[in-house]
Each structure stands twice: as C-alpha cells, then as structure tokens.
C-alpha cells in the first residue's frame, strides 16, 4: 500500500506543477481551454491527495508498522481515536493534511468562481498550484509519510500529551485556518496579476477568509483548553512560539476583516489590504515552519527535522514575490478617496488595524528573537512572559476600548454632540462598574481594573446598538438578517469581551500555593483548604494511572473530592501530569490541583491554583463561534446583488 501512497503523491505533485505552469501560460496568453484544464488539475490533485491520505489513514488504523510513520506515532495499545489523530501528530502526516486541505480549498474556490470570474480564477489557479506543488514536493522528496521498514513488533506510540480528545479537533481546525488563508492570498495575487483591482477578489474570498479566521480562532481556544486540562501546569496560554504562531495570522486576518470593510464602503486601503493578506498568509507559513522545523524550543514542536531550510526559502520567495507584485501594481491600487475625519467609523477601523498589526509584529519579533540572536551572537536568547504581557496590555487594552467606540461612531464623520449622546450610556455603565469594582476590592490590579471597565463599556455599546437597531428595524430578527456581518460582528466582539474578562480574572486576581504533603496533611490556597487523604494506582488500557485523593473544604464545609495525579504510558515510556480541576459555577472560578512530584513513600509535592473567571474564556469560544456563524450565514439578497454587479462587465 505504501507504493500507492507514494504514487498518489507523485501524481499530485505533477498535477500541482501542471496547474502552476499551464495555468500561468493560459492566463498570460488568455487561453480558455488550457485555463480550464489547469483548474481541473487542481481538482484532480485533490483526488490524488485524498487517495494518499486514505492510504496513510488505513495504515494508522491497521497499525501497519511497516510504515515508518505509523511505527513512530502509534502502538497496538493506542485507542482508535488517537490512532486516527496520529495522522496529524507527526511532521509528515501534518504536511499531508496541509496539502489535502489546500487542494480541497483550491478545488472548491475554482469550482465556485470560475464561471463568474474566469479571468481572475485563471490567474489564481497558478498561485494555488505553485503553493500545492511546494507541499507535494516536500512530501515526495523530503518528508514522505510513506517511508517503509521491516515492521517491528510494536510501535513507539503517540506523545502522551497528544492523547487527549481535544487533539481530534484542535490541529485540524488550526490547519483549516492556516491553509484557508491561502485562498484570499491566492485571489489577491491573482487579482494583481490579472490587473483586476476592483472588489471582485474580495467578494470571492470574503467567506473563505471568515471561515479560515473562525477555524483559527476556535482551534486556538480548543488548544488553550487542551493546554489547561492536559499539559498540567495550570495555565492555558504560555506565549509559546508555536501558540504565538497561530495567534499572529489570526491577528493579521482580524485586521484584514476590518480594513476590507473600508475598501468595500469607501474604496480606500487597497494597498493595505493586499499587504495584510500577504502578512496573514506569510505568517501561516511561518507558523507551520515553527511547528515542524524544530527551530525553536516549544512543547508543540514534536520533531527536529530537515524541512526547515525548505520552508524558510519558500517563505522568503513568497513574501518577496508578492511584495514585488504589489509594488509593480501600485499605480492601479491608488485610492481616489481620502479619510474625511479622524473621528469616524473608518478612522476607528484604521486605529484598530494599526494596533492589531503592531501587536502582531511585536509577537513576531519575540518569536524570531531567539533565531536571530543565535544567528548573530551564536547563542539563543529568548524573550519571556513579561515582554508579551507588556505588549498585550499596551495594545490589547486600547483595542478593547476601540471595540466599544467603533460601533458608536458614524461613517465619514461624527459631530461632538451626537458622540456625546451615543457615548452617554456605555460610558456611564463603564464608570459605574469601575467604581463598584474598586469598592469590592478589585483595585489591586490596575490592568485588571482597566480591562473590566473597558469590557463594561464595550458590552454597554453592544447592548445599545442592538436596542437602538431593533427599535429602528422593528425586530431583532429583521435587524440581524438585514446586516449579518455587522451584528454577527458585534456578537464576536462580545466574545472578545468575555475572553478579556476571563484572561484578566484568571491572571490578575488568581492565587497559588505549593506544598509537600504526607497523607493526612493539608494546605491552603485562596479561600480553600485541601486535605491529602490517600494515593491509589489503577491500570488503564495503555497506562498506569496514579491518583491522589484530596478533600476540598471551604471554611469547614466539605465541597467534594479531587483526584490529581500522573499517568505512566507503557509503550511511549513517558509520564504525563493529570491536573484535577474543580469548577465552582457560583463563584465562577476553578480550583486546579497539580502533583508536581510523587515520591515512592506516598509524599507528594502539590501545587494548587485558584483561577477566577477562567471559564469565561471557554464561554467566549462558544459565543465567538455563534457570532461567526451569523456573519458567515449566506444572504441571498446580497448574493443576487453582487452577481448582477459582476455579470455586467462580461456582457458589456
């Protein structure tokens, strides 16, 4: 079967190369049939890649250890779900997933747009083909998932931290996000090559960008929850380079989704939007490079590999070529309209963009710093949590405030009188919340207090927008269905507020305690008392599970029991920490208990943490998804209007 996988990948490489080269020739010489043929090559590449993926999946499920990849990432003791998730648990499999998602996106984008915008698609196909050819080449020549060996009796198993239900969804969602950003990039470059700098490419890619952005956002929150429940250190985001690698393209895509509205409504920022799609796609490639090259130390970089130089070279070529193309087409991208006022909706979008991009670039600097310092000084220096936390406060808090200001300001310009009227209620709510929090003793953390006050302002402005909008439209259903993007966007803003509340609460107002305990001894953390009762050993399907039993008290009242411990995996010869989490819904806080070290005599070094409001972060994920679905929901009236607009030139 490995031969079939290898052959399918070679076919996929050939088809992607054909799509790139024949597509370029067809677009340049305006050859319709050849352009269609190149587009079909992308569809066929999807088929060939799907066959290769089916071969690998079948080998993983059957535990066919003659496949080196299968032997390195599974064992016969590994449950079926995790045998499937091993597909993206290693480098070669995840590159295959990249190619599969890329060809699927490419094929769908071609099918949906080639009738309505044949000239644009003709130039987009070679861009998609060239990117697919790069990944297919890596899979054929550098990191094949179909390398074979004499089958050992047992496989090495899967990294224990990947043996978690979240791993079934988190990596594929991130890949849907990373790879999804290829579509706006390819259409943007296609539009420049075709000299079509109208909004057709934005219309073609609007939903793709939103979908990729949603997948990336939900994927990151799932990853944060995975880190929280599985990695066993009591946190959910550590500014790890690979975590940052997913955050950066999301921030760039967020900036793009906002600035694209200015282009649609005012015909401005055409160059900026092109630069943002290049940045978002370049960062998604950089993210894959960081995860898979092993160039930086990260809990997510599971391999050291030889693909790093190939990736770096490809990123350089992509960025240099696309920037050169933007520069070449600058005369076509000049806007005829200008910003009329610094106090207008488009101005707040612009400030939002500047802050998002500045935040994104400071994170990029933090991630790249170890690599650059190693190149320059010969030793790797890293920037730590204080660096990132400083910039999170510096850029994040103004961004939070802008989320509340933006919806209250009119397009083009706003007078002071109308601003005063619209700001009155949200600002009043924010001041009242701030005063109340200080009175309740929350003034111990200035950033926390500011975050909550700003959050109250944003929520106030969102509620006001819905109330006034509903009054004007007649009903909330009519209001949302008439402008899904705007009101779905407000729901997403509410999700970001929940996220800010969760992050501020759990980081600024949390408490922790560490102690070495014998059975019968106790420790305190926050307002909780923990009594260590006993230690037990249970044999699981592929591991030995050691658990401490602890009673949790609040004052003298017994609240219940928690069971923190460790799992020792037989095949993998690795140990994982299994944190116990007790959620108090009434207080909206989590009590987390970690066993740092378990001695043979039963003595345990415990670490306990209280995380106020941490569950708001997970709730934010649900609200974010809901808001994204509203914005993504098709609007038949809008689609008819756009179809008639873009049908005109073809007939003219």
């Amino acid at each position: 079967m490995a031969e079939l996988g290898r052959a399918a990948l070679i076919v996929s490489l050939g088809l992607a190369l054909y799509a790139a080269l024949a597509g370029f020739w067809a677009a340049r010489n305006r050859r319709r049939r050849l352009a269609d043929s190149a587009g079909n090559a992308l569809l066929a590449a999807l088929g060939a890649t799907a066959v290769a993926s089916a071969v690998l999946l079948s080998a993983l499920v059957r535990h066919d250890f003659s496949f080196t990849y299968v032997a390195s990432h599974t064992s016969t003791q590994l449950p079926l779900g995790y045998s499937i998730s091993a597909f993206w648990g290693g480098q070669e499999g995840s590159l295959l997933l990249w190619l599969l998602v890329l060809t699927a996106y490419g094929a769908a984008a071609v099918l949906l747009n080639r009738r309505s915008a044949p000239d644009l698609v003709a130039w987009t196909v070679p861009v998609l083909g060239a990117i697919a050819a790069f990944f297919a080449f890596l899979l054929v020549a550098v990191a094949s998932p179909f390398a074979t060996q004499t089958a050992p009796a047992q496989g090495a198993g899967l990294n224990p931290s990947l043996q978690n239900p979240y791993m079934l969804a988190h990596p594929p969602l991130l890949y849907l996000g990373y790879v999804g950003l290829t579509v706006p990039f390819a259409f943007g470059m296609g539009a420049l090559l075709a000299r079509r700098t109208d909004e057709r490419w934005l219309v073609a890619t609007r939903r793709w960008t939103l979908f990729a952005w949603t997948a990336l956002g939900v994927g990151q929150l799932l990853g944060a929850h995975w880190a929280y429940v599985e990695v066993g250190w009591g946190g959910y985001y550590a500014w790890d380079p690979v975590e940052n690698a997913a955050l950066m393209p999301w921030l760039a895509a967020t900036a793009f989704l906002h600035s694209v509205m200015i282009q649609e409504k005012r015909g401005m920022l055409k160059v900026w939007n092109m630069l943002l799609v290049i940045l978002a796609f370049g960062l998604s490639l950089f993210g894959t490079f960081l995860t898979r090259s092993g160039v930086v130390n990260s809990i997510h970089s599971f391999t050291q590999s030889s693909i790093g130089p190939w990736f770096l070279g490809f990123i350089c070529v992509v960025v240099a070529a696309s920037l050169a193309l933007v520069f070449w087409r600058l005369p076509l991208l000049r806007s005829k309209t200008r910003l009329e006022s610094l106090v207008s909706r488009e101005a707040t979008f612009l400030y939002n963009n500047l802050l998002l991009v500045a935040f994104c670039l400071t994170i990029l600097w933090g991630v790249a710093f170890p690599i650059l310092s190693e190149l320059v000084k010969g030793e790797s220096s890293t920037v730590g949590r204080p660096y990132y936390d400083f910039f999170l406060r510096t850029f994040g808090l103004p961004l939070l405030l802008l989320m509340g200001i933006g919806p209250l300001v009119a397009w083009r310009r706003a007078s002071l009188r109308s601003l005063g009227r619209t700001f009155l209620w949200p600002a009043g709510v924010a001041v009242a919340v701030g005063v109340l929090l200080v009175a309740l003793g929350a003034g111990s953390s200035s950033p926390g207090l500011i975050a909550y006050t700003f959050s109250a302002f944003v929520l106030g402005s969102i509620v006001l927008e819905f109330v006034r909008g509903t009054r004007a439209a007649g009903s909330i259903t009519q209001l949302v269905s008439r402008n899904r993007r705007r009101y779905g966007g407000y729901v997403v803003h509410a999700a970001i507020v929940l996220l800010a509340i969760g992050i501020a609460g759990s980081s600024a107002y949390g408490s922790s305690s560490s102690r070495k305990l014998h059975p019968g001894q106790s420790m305190r953390v926050g307002s909780y008392s923990l009594v260590y009762r006993s230690l037990s050993h249970v044999r699981g399907p592929n591991d030995l599970e050691v658990r401490a039993t602890m009673d949790v008290y609040h004052g003298r009242k017994l609240l219940g029991r928690v069971y923190p411990g460790k799992n020792s995996y037989f095949a993998e010869q690795q140990v994982s920490s299994e944190m116990a989490i007790r959620t108090d819904w009434l207080r909206a806080e989590d009590l987390d208990v970690i066993t740092d070290q378990i001695d043979p005599n039963g003595t345990i070094y415990f670490k306990a943490l209280v995380k106020p409001l941490v569950n708001f972060i997970w709730l934010a994920g649900v609200v974010f998804f809901f808001g994204s679905v509203i914005t993504l929901w098709p609007d038949a009236r809008e689609e008819r209007r756009l179809a008639s607009r873009y049908a005109l030139p073809a007939e003219a």
Partner: protein, 94 residues
C-alpha cells in the same frame, strides 16, 4: 499489491481525463479566448461599485440617523452629497 497498482492506475487515468476534459469536450473551437472585461467593461464595473457604495452609504446614513448616531444637522448635510454621488454613478451607467 496488485490491488494497489490497479487503484494507482485508475487514479492516474482519471486525473489525465479530468485535465484533458476541456480539450476532449471542445477538440476544435473558433473562440478559445478567456472571457474578461474589456476597458468598457472595467469602467462599467467601477461605476457599478461606485453606485453600490453610494446607495449603501445612503442606507447606512438613514439607519445611523434613525438610531441617533448622526444628528439632524449632519444628516441633512451628508444626505445631499450621498444622493449626488449615487445619481452621478447611475447617470454614468446609463
């Protein structure tokens, strides 16, 4: 092994057929040029975008006024400009 080879051959043949399909469907054609808007088409497109932008701005202005985001004075002042823009795009399209 034989089964794998057979599947591989089928995949390769299907891929070739799919890629060649535009030429199989139309072995010879008088018009093989890619459809694209000409200069006039591009101008029409630009005007359509301007018209839609102006009409959307009018709608937005109306809504912002009704929700109290824009004062009566600003509304009256902006309305004329938006209407002129929409009318000029509509005239040019005719």
């Amino acid at each position: 092994m034989n089964g794998a080879l057979l599947i591989g051959a089928v995949v390769a043949v299907l891929a070739v057929v799919l890629v060649a399909l535009p030429f199989i469907r139309e072995p010879a054609t008088a018009d093989d040029r890619l459809a694209e808007p000409g200069d006039r088409g591009k101008r029409t497109l630009e005007l359509s975008e301007q018209r839609d932008r102006a009409l959307a701005a009018l709608k937005e202005l109306e809504f912002d006024h009704r929700t109290g985001k824009i004062s009566n004075e600003d509304y009256r002042e902006l309305l004329g400009g938006y209407r002129r823009r929409a009318a000029s795009a509509l005239r040019a399209l005719e």
